[in-house]
């Protein structure tokens, strides 16, 4: 039999050789093959060619091949980008190729690298030493390098985007304009102001790709690719999205994406903030009231259009009522619109817009109320009715005539819910009777007192009204005192 240790001696030899080889390999790999060392050698050669004077030669002799970094604790940044971008603030290499080239434009005049670093504007992984890891699109890093055309989103970190010159931040400016034009605020809150149908957009730019469903997005899976694809067609990115197509061009989608990326309330030391940013923070806390028209355009048009007709909404599966029609505005009680705006319409998509809900100020609600009723003609006088209604007869009439649209028990269908407390409280009997009699112009609500066989008579309407009022009671049984009042006489006091 052979010496059993023969095998072990061979094993030891092989193991040791492999160990030495890989240790040496690691040393070579780290020492000589590092990407950034090659880059720095290239840069030194460029400098050599460009150096003509003594000062240049002196600078050249000081150039060391070594890792370089800008450390800015205040911004939480350790940026090693300058290890490869050696000439970033060196005017001699404006014509060199990347990564040796000087930073384009004059931005570094006011944003010196040693004070701001790189990642506060560009994002990306500052600690990395290879481009792939610095770009960080397909490595584990929350905020990959922003594409050049979107970098302006980061300006909003320290500047008020509205105050920046639009030629410097064209995308951001366009995005801001579109946000108002497309009435995004109708459904989305931003800074505490806006609707509640969609998610609030504060800090949208702080989201990482893991917070967005990327299943239907084309790679690379970045938040901006998600945003852009989503702005082109929300339904194809988020299943069951209620958001309608904003109908934007590709450029506009990119601009809105930049706006979203700029919504990132980073904690930046005050010394880094531009004065206008501080103004903006003040303005966010104490907003200047908008005019009625501005409010309507920014917060209402996404659903109500221009407000003069009721429109069928495919996504909601129901009608969105006209809010500027003569019949509504003129026929409704004085506070009807106002109450609905302030408190919303429970059971429908209409949210509350009061100071504690949608964030509109009282004077803004007054302004939009006035804007809506401007130019409406006064309603023709209506002969008053003082018939007493029979709610059980009203029920059967309601089932025949109304439930098709307003739903069983008035719970709402394609037409608004009638049992909701805000409506019950804000709508006077006179208004309801007038609406049933005459219908609502430019809406799907027909006039029921028509010269036809099926038309409802005054008594019928009184019965329906009596029934409608029971809906409010049923709904708020707990809130009201037991043994509530009988149906009120039609045509009486509101």
């Amino acid at each position: 039999m052979n010496d059993p240790s023969r095998f072990y001696r061979w094993l030891l030899l092989v193991g040791s050789l492999v160990t030495i080889a890989y240790l040496a390999g690691a040393a070579v790999h780290e020492n000589y093959l590092a990407q950034w060392k090659t880059v720095q050698r290239e840069y030194r050669d460029i400098l050599r060619q460009k150096t003509a004077d003594d000062r240049g030669r002196e600078l050249l002799s000081k150039f060391r091949i070594e890792m370089k970094q800008v450390s800015i604790p205040a911004l939480g940044a350790v940026d090693r980008c300058v290890t490869c971008h050696n000439g970033i603030d060196d005017p001699r290499v404006t014509d060199a190729a990347l990564p040796h080239r000087t930073h384009p434009g004059h931005l570094l005049d006011k944003h010196p690298v040693d004070r701001f670093g790189c990642t506060v504007c560009h994002h990306g992984q500052g600690a990395a030493l290879t481009f792939q890891e610095a770009k960080a699109e397909d490595v584990y890093w929350d905020y990959p390098l922003l594409p050049p055309e979107m970098t302006e989103a980061a300006c909003a970190t320290c500047h008020d985007p509205e105050k920046l010159p639009s030629d410097q931040v064209p995308m951001l400016t366009l995005g801001l304009k579109l946000y108002k034009e497309k009435s995004c605020g109708s459904c989305h809150k931003l800074g505490g102001r806006g609707g509640t149908l969609g998610p609030a957009l504060d800090n949208e730019g702080a989201k990482t790709r893991h917070q967005l469903i990327m299943t239907n997005v084309k790679p690379p899976y970045t938040t901006w690719n998600w945003q852009t694809a989503h702005f082109r067609d929300p339904g194809s990115i988020v299943r069951d999205s209620q958001m309608r197509n904003p109908t934007v061009t590709r450029g506009e989608a990119l601009a809105l994406t930049v706006l979203m990326l700029s919504e990132w309330r980073r904690d930046v030391p005050e010394s880094y903030l531009a004065p206008d940013k501080i103004d903006q923070k003040h303005r966010d806390l104490h907003p200047i009231p908008l005019t009625g028209e501005q409010v309507y355009r920014q917060y209402c048009t996404a659903c109500h259009g221009n407000g003069t007709y009721s429109r069928w909404d495919k996504k909601f599966g129901r009608f969105v009522p006209a809010v500027r029609g003569d019949s509504l505005v003129a026929g409704a009680p004085r506070d009807y619109l106002r109450t609905n705006i302030e408190q919303g319409r429970p059971g429908t998509q209409m949210p509350a817009w009061g100071p504690h809900a949608g964030g509109l100020h009282t004077e803004e609600i007054t302004a939009v109320d006035e804007y809506l009723r401007a130019g409406a003609r006064a309603a023709p006088p209506m002969p008053s009715l003082s018939l007493r209604g029979d709610s059980s007869r009203g029920l059967s009439l309601f089932l025949t005539n109304c439930a098709g649209c307003h739903g069983m028990h008035g719970r709402g269908g394609i037409a608004p819910e009638i049992g909701n407390p805000v409506f019950q409280q804000a709508a006077t009997n006179e208004f309801i009777v007038r609406t049933i009699r005459n219908g609502r112009i430019r809406t799907a609500m027909p006039a029921f007192q028509r010269p036809e066989a099926s038309a409802l008579g005054d008594q019928d309407i009184a019965d329906v009204l009596a029934y409608l009022r029971t809906l409010g009671e049923n709904k708020n049984q707990s809130a009201r005192t037991p043994g509530s009042t009988p149906p009120p006489p039609v045509g009486g006091k509101p």
Partner: protein, 513 residues
């Protein structure tokens, strides 16, 4: 002529290398005789734990596959690289992640060192488990090695704890959510106390979790606790137990082995020696030192060879093999480092470290059964093996007793079929909660795929016990069943569990986040 002081000094200077060597090494030269070889062994602190002569079987690569040594070697590797990492690592939630990034990018060969640390740690867990299986299947836990089996079990637990505590330190998403899951497993007794409504008065789960984390969530307190455990308490405990483990190997008579045949011949380098016939008037025991009759009375000399140098070649080669393997893995594959830990963005699926995934799969059925009851049953069961299976025989031989190999393969296939069947059933048809949503939680704690598996395995083992009339074979069947169950559950939870712990054939089918 009298030597001057100058000459003496110069002479001393010339002979300096020699005298230093002589001072350091007691022998001063390579051993040439067997006597010097023994001296080389027992004059050296690190070698003297070995006996001077070693049995030839010990040198056979297929007896142990060097698994114990590999585990030790990977521990030494983690120790060395761990100290290097400690120089740069900062155990603070604000700084930890950045310090790992710095190790990764800026520290010279830092990435390589961290990779070695990670791979050595993973290798250690695997090898320790295999080592335990080796000791079991060669029946090496039997008398007088029962205590060392227990020490080994302690080392297994410490190894897992070391790996688990190290998992949190990078403070990335992987670490954060794996430890969140892990600490919820510690919290699992709460399922039982909740179900019988006594959590308010008696809450061992909550206590365990708070003891582990120092808070109700994974935060700075948890990080410091894990750090102290990882770099101080656990390594110290491991080194201590490791010393005991080695010491006991020596004191229990080296590696377990069957008795040599009468008048045995040293197969290599030995010579035929006569059987020793005892004188009736002498006892020949070294009673105070070792158990039993140690001098080879009534038998021939054992098949031993000098430990120096053959055993040390063997040990060194296994050590270097481990180092080489680890370096290769570390060179080509980076240790994972995900995004900075963020409590607001849960990983989905959040998975515990791989060696706890079998437990996590069981926890997904019932937290109490899977997270506490079954692990306790397994550990206690393992600890009891050498005390319940006491019949000598088969020591130091793979599947040494009669029909052991057959029972192993039968149990292997049985456990494979039962576990796979149970998993397939659970994935396809759900469990009690899916069939009857309002069922009391106690039912699920008692009857779930995990508890059923334990019952089936126990039943199978009892069947073997009755049929084969052998405790050892019953132990083999039970150990095999649990081993297969562990491996299969771990594999299943690693590969086939995706977001929300749903079944997927492959991770590539997971929804993209």
């Amino acid at each position: 002529m009298e030597e001057t002081a100058t000459q003496e000094f110069l002479h001393n200077l010339r002979t300096l290398p020699h005298s230093v060597k002589e001072a350091c090494f007691r022998l001063g030269k390579a051993p040439e005789s067997e006597r010097e070889e023994s001296q080389a062994t027992f004059h050296n602190l690190f070698l003297h734990i070995h006996s001077v002569r070693v049995h030839l079987r010990t040198l056979s690569p297929t007896l142990t596959f060097g698994l114990g040594l590999m585990a030790t070697a990977s521990f030494v590797l983690t120790l060395i690289t761990g100290v290097l990492l400690m120089v740069y690592y900062k155990p603070s939630t604000d700084l930890a992640y950045q310090s790992i990034k710095d190790i990764h990018f800026a520290v010279f060969t830092g990435r390589f060192i961290r990779n070695i640390h990670r791979w050595a740690a993973q290798f250690m867990v695997v090898v320790v488990l295999l080592h335990m299986a080796r000791v079991f299947f060669t029946a090496s836990y039997k008398k007088p090695r029962e205590f060392n089996w227990l020490v080994g079990l302690g080392l297994l637990v410490i190894t897992l704890a070391l790996s688990f505590t190290g998992y949190l330190l990078p403070w990335d998403q992987l670490a954060y959510w794996a430890i969140t899951i892990g600490s919820n497993i510690a919290n699992s007794p709460r399922e039982l106390t909740d179900a019988i409504g006594i959590t308010k008065y008696f809450d061992p789960g909550g206590f365990q979790k708070r003891l582990l984390l120092g808070a109700n969530y994974v935060g700075q307190d948890a990080l410091i606790r894990f750090y102290v455990l990882h770099v101080f308490v656990l390594p110290l405990a491991l080194v201590t137990l490791l010393g005991v483990h080695f010491w006991r190997i020596r004191k229990d008579g080296g590696l377990a082995k069957p008795e040599d045949p009468m008048g045995g011949l040293a197969e290599w380098g030995g010579e035929r020696r006569p059987v020793f016939e005892p004188l009736a008037t002498k006892t020949y025991g070294l009673m105070a030192l070792v158990k039993g009759q140690r001098p080879p009375v009534n038998r021939g000399p054992e098949n031993t060879v000098m430990s120096w140098p053959r055993l040390f070649w063997a040990e060194l080669s296994v050590f270097m093999l481990t180092v080489a393997t680890t370096l290769i893995l570390a060179f080509y594959s980076d240790a994972p480092l995900k995004e900075l830990a963020n409590a607001a963005i849960p990983e989905n699926p959040a998975k515990a470290p791989w060696y706890f995934l079998g437990i996590q799969e069981l926890v997904s059925y019932s937290a109490f059964t899977g997270g506490l009851l079954i692990p306790v049953i397994v550990v206690v069961g393992l600890a009891l093996i050498p005390f319940l299976d006491r019949r000598a025989g088969g020591e130091g031989t793979w599947f040494g007793t009669k029909s052991e190999r057959a029972v192993f393969w039968q149990s292997f296939l049985f456990a494979l079929a039962v576990t796979a069947g149970m998993l397939a059933f659970t994935v396809n048809y759900g469990w009690l909660r899916n069939w009857s949503p309002n069922i009391h939680q106690l039912w699920i704690i008692v009857i779930n795929p995990g508890s059923l598996l334990v019952v089936i395995f126990a039943g199978w083992s009892i069947l073997i016990l009755r049929r084969k009339n052998s405790v050892r074979l019953a132990a083999v069947s039970l150990f095999t069943c649990f081993l297969v169950g562990f491996i299969l559950l771990t594999y299943f939870a690693t590969v086939h569990r995706g977001p929300n712990w749903h079944f997927y054939w492959w991770p590539s089918q997971w929804p993209i986040h």
